[in-house]
């Protein structure tokens, strides 16, 4: 699929955070053989945009983020961030992982400060900025706690604050709320939207939860099962700021239907092709299973 034909402002000072993923293929070498994880993926993310990447687990979502973060090198194609080709990890692309990525030997504040410290920011200023971020993610009073003393949701708050401390052009999030309980998850989604509304950082957010994606995104990018290729893009034009109540709206359900349709098409792969794993719908993580079965039902009824 071609990159989205959109106008991109080149006023870099005002608008940073443009990500161009151009025809990227990526392989993993495992022992003697190799696994093709990404196959010719192209995507254009605009400055300040919130893009969700949805696909069955194991399809290559993390790999795609890894290519943007610079952890893995594509065998073909390239990733550009604000026109600069990605050559390795860098502070301009903040990363939030699913879990267990805080430095367990550093306090909350020291974790948040880490990026600034690496950038050589002086102690005083570092502390000021970090305290502000800790406040923004609602962790005031926990500055000196150790990560192991925090709940999963609080740990993810620290992870987000830590990634934002560097004022990155892009925030890359790899199923950051995937292991949280339903209520915490909703809170975190709202927190993230608030932060994003305030900071206007570009966000690329990976999830396998379609409802989460619709709630958060400006655009949803659907990936096929491995090797991931772009299945399609759905623009989400729900009004902002979004409250969780939006999930009960008609439009929201229309989008859900649209996503489903696209996923059904996805599941109608030739026999022998890798089938997508379980995808989940809804904050409660209700499993949406057996795409083949649903697809055939759909076909029978339609």
């Amino acid at each position: 699929m071609e990159p989205q034909p959109r106008m991109i402002s080149r006023d870099a000072k005002l608008e940073r955070g443009n990500v161009s993923i151009r025809n990227v293929s990526l392989r993993f070498n495992v022992g003697g053989s190799s696994i093709l994880a990404l196959s010719h993926v192209s995507l254009e993310v605009l400055p300040g945009e919130f893009v969700c990447v949805v696909g069955p687990s194991g399809c290559g979502k993390s790999t795609l983020l890894g290519a943007v973060a610079g952890f893995m090198k594509p065998v073909e194609g390239e990733v550009l961030v604000d026109g600069e080709p990605v050559r390795g990890p860098g502070a301009d692309r903040g990363m939030v992982f699913q879990q267990h990525a805080l430095f367990p030997w550093k306090s909350v504040l020291a974790n948040v400060e880490f990026g600034l410290r690496m950038a050589g920011v002086s102690g005083k200023r570092r502390k000021m900025v970090s305290m502000r971020l800790v406040e923004m993610v609602g962790l005031t009073g926990f500055e000196h706690s150790m990560p192991s003393q925090l709940s999963g949701g609080m740990q993810q708050r620290v992870g987000i604050a830590r990634a934002l401390a560097n004022n990155p052009a892009v925030l890359l999030m790899d199923e950051p709320f995937g292991s949280l309980d339903a209520l915490t998850r909703v809170k975190m989604q709202e927190l993230l939207l608030n932060l994003w509304q305030e900071l206007r950082t570009t966000v690329i957010f990976v999830t396998h939860d379609v409802e989460e994606a619709i709630f958060l995104a400006d655009r949803i990018v659907m990936l096929t099962a491995r090797p991931a290729t772009q299945k399609g893009i759905i623009d989400i034009s729900l009004p902002r700021p979004r409250m969780k109540e939006v999930v009960t709206s008609h439009r929201f359900n229309e989008y859900k239907g649209k996503c489903l349709e696209m996923l059904h098409a996805e599941s109608a792969r030739p026999i022998g092709a890798p089938s997508p794993d379980t995808l989940t719908f809804g904050v409660g993580g209700v499993a949406w299973q057996a795409p083949e079965k649903q697809a055939s039902q759909h076909a029978a009824s339609g």
Partner: protein
Amino acid sequence: MRTDYTNPLELILGPSQATERPALHKQSRSFRIRFSDVRKYVAGKIAGYLISGAAIVAFLWIWNTLSTDKVDFGLDFANVPSAQSVAKHMLHAAASKAFYVNVLISLKRVWLAFASAALLGSLLGLALARISIIKRIFMPFVEIFRPIPAIAWIPLAILMFPTTESSILFIVFLGAVFPIILNTYQGASEVPSQLLRAARSLGASRISVLWHVIIPSALPNIATGLSVGMGIAWFSLLTAEMIGGQNGIGNYTWESYQLIKYPDIIVGMISIGILSTVSTAVINWMCKPLLRWSNHR
């Protein structure tokens, strides 16, 4: 059936009486600690200590009986000094300067060689884990030399080194360095890749990653290596001193045998045990503040 009879009361009173302890835990969780439970718990603790104390007294009594009666049942106790005479010699040694000189000489050797082993061992362990060319070059040697006990090097070390002192230091170093290398290597190899990636995408340089991520993450293993290394350092030192030394606590022990001062053999043995235990405790104590984060994981 429970097999871990950690509560000595359980052995004597049977499981029914000894289940008082779990009962107390249950009570305390619901904030209803009854006095009778506390009393039983404390009584259980005291009984435990009493039993341990009684066992030691019994041991001393059997030892004394066997040695004063010069019992010989295959094991010959005729020349084994009695507990009393050992105690007497211990007091005597504790009042003599020569004894302390020997202790200090051994301490100096161990800490000097151990410090070098700690420095070199942890650096090499880190390098082996994180730099593939270093691993390619040095790992075969580590694998070849690791299974050879340090004390097997004693004859060669005496031949190679200019002074006895340096050969002893070499043996102690060799004994301590392998557990330190291998534990550090393991710890530094197992750094979660998420943490490395997180650090890199926060702008950390390779050196910063080493300092802020790899070393802290490997510290629990390094501490284990140091602790084990210290034990082996003492073990190696004593053997080296017995064979090659003219002084030190190992030589003191061996010389006591040669000079037929048999109670002093046991004084030497006890001193060695204490020195080794205290040295290891010092290592653990020094590492503890660095490991606080990993305790409540």
